[in-house]
Symmetry: C2
Subunit: 226 residues, 2 copies
DNA sequence: TACGATGCGGAGTCTGGACTCCGAATATAT
DNA sequence: ATATATTCGGAGTCCAGACTCCGCATCGTA
């Protein structure tokens, strides 16, 4: 039962289930039912559960495959000539990819933290790490401002990926959205002139959540608690 | 049964349920159970369902209230002196608000489209419209580049809101993330020098998802601009 | 071709969570 | 204080979807 050779039909089924699951969860999110996957894969439910002991395991397997694929792509780009285009290109590709796969966006979002301890988590972290290298190279090449750090850049990657998965965001809007973000990333790292005065106004008004702030506009009845 | 006067305790309960629900769904997302809301509100489940015929209705009521509050805040800012700070300030506030309320982020995301036809949808659209006015004013004031249009800017608002709701994104990262986006928004609308060449490289390589593009390999020349 | 061993299918179980029923409790008018 | 409409609570129903059982089919080898 350790290194048993799997029957070829079994392995084929496993792959088919994985493919279908990627599509099903990609369209309907994690909420899609296992039965749906089984049906579209042309197998019985039991078969799905035989290969993947639990639904979570199935989702995880899908994600790991997907993350690994993306990471591999990122690694390839690390060796590419232009560090700037490599970075921005990967960013663009990942967002475009996520645009048609809700689940990956959800997962990127959910796994961006460091809790949860599955393989998907590990794969997600590996991707993030590689992306971080891509970022550093781009910064050394002067294509990305130096003061941008991985946490916020990765957060932006996740954010835009997730947004791109909204059905009403077409390719055009997506491109324009990225253009804005990319301008911000390339931005003026040194020059002190800040046209909009974010920092300051942020400090002033946005002391914390809206709560306090909002109250200014929506008065009375703040809150009563025994 | 039409204009009947509601008993005061009933109305109080309704409000309490709404408050608690905002918190519960804000923390656990829409997935949180109705029972949880009832328990924390100190009422029976039946009471919740009496006031809100279905869970969806409860969620919707919470969202409407929230969206309305935000819209009101935006309207207040419309009359503020500086259009730029008003715009960026609102953006910041909303993101900070969403940071502690997962559900609102989810909802912004889900309702950003135009399908779905409830009150929440309407409230969401109203918010978006008001935000659009805020944007226009900021553009007239020269605080936001002219070529940025509402769809992509709103998409960014939604995207960053959602990202900010991730537990591991602290206020610091959030601020830095927004700083990048804001620089992009204020950005150089006219000047042709594009440091990273997104547009072109995107057009070249980004024909669709990762799949095909990847093969093309890294875009050779960093960037060229006539 | 025969014969284990490995897989398969789908009916059936179990659980969580949305929603309902109805007697008890409470608010308000007189 | 009493009457009565209104509201409450929580036990109970219903259903969807994850997961299991076990007889039947298929693969791979001799």
């Amino acid at each position: 039962m350790t290194g048993r050779v799997q029957r070829v039909d079994a392995r084929a089924n496993r792959e088919r289930i994985l493919d279908v699951a990627e599509d099903v969860f990609g369209t309907g999110g994690k909420a899609a039912s296992t039965e749906e996957v089984a049906r579209r894969a042309g197998v019985g439910i039991a078969t799905v559960f035989r290969h993947f002991p639990t639904k979570a395991a199935l989702v995880e397997a899908v994600l790991v495959r997907r993350f690994d694929r993306l990471r591999t792509r990122a690694e390839t780009l690390l060796a590419a000539p232009g560090a700037g285009p490599a970075f921005y290109g990967f960013f663009t590709e990942l967002v475009a990819d996520a645009a048609t796969k809700i689940a990956i966006g959800e997962a990127l979002h959910d796994l961006a933290g460091d809790d949860g301890a599955g393989e998907a988590m590990a794969a997600s972290l590996a991707l993030r790490r590689t992306f971080g290298t891509l970022l550093q190279q781009a910064q050394r090449a002067g294509a990305v401002r130096d003061d941008a750090e991985l946490p916020e850049v990765y957060a932006l990657l996740v954010a835009t990926s997730r947004a791109a998965s909204q059905p009403h965001i077409d390719e055009d809007v997506r491109t324009r959205m990225l253009a804005i973000v990319f301008d911000g990333l390339a931005g003026k790292p040194q020059d002190g002139a800040r046209p909009h005065g974010l920092r300051s106004s942020d400090r002033q008004t946005g002391r914390s959540g809206v709560q306090g702030v909002m109250i200014a506009g929506a008065p009375s009845a703040p809150d009563r608690r025994p």
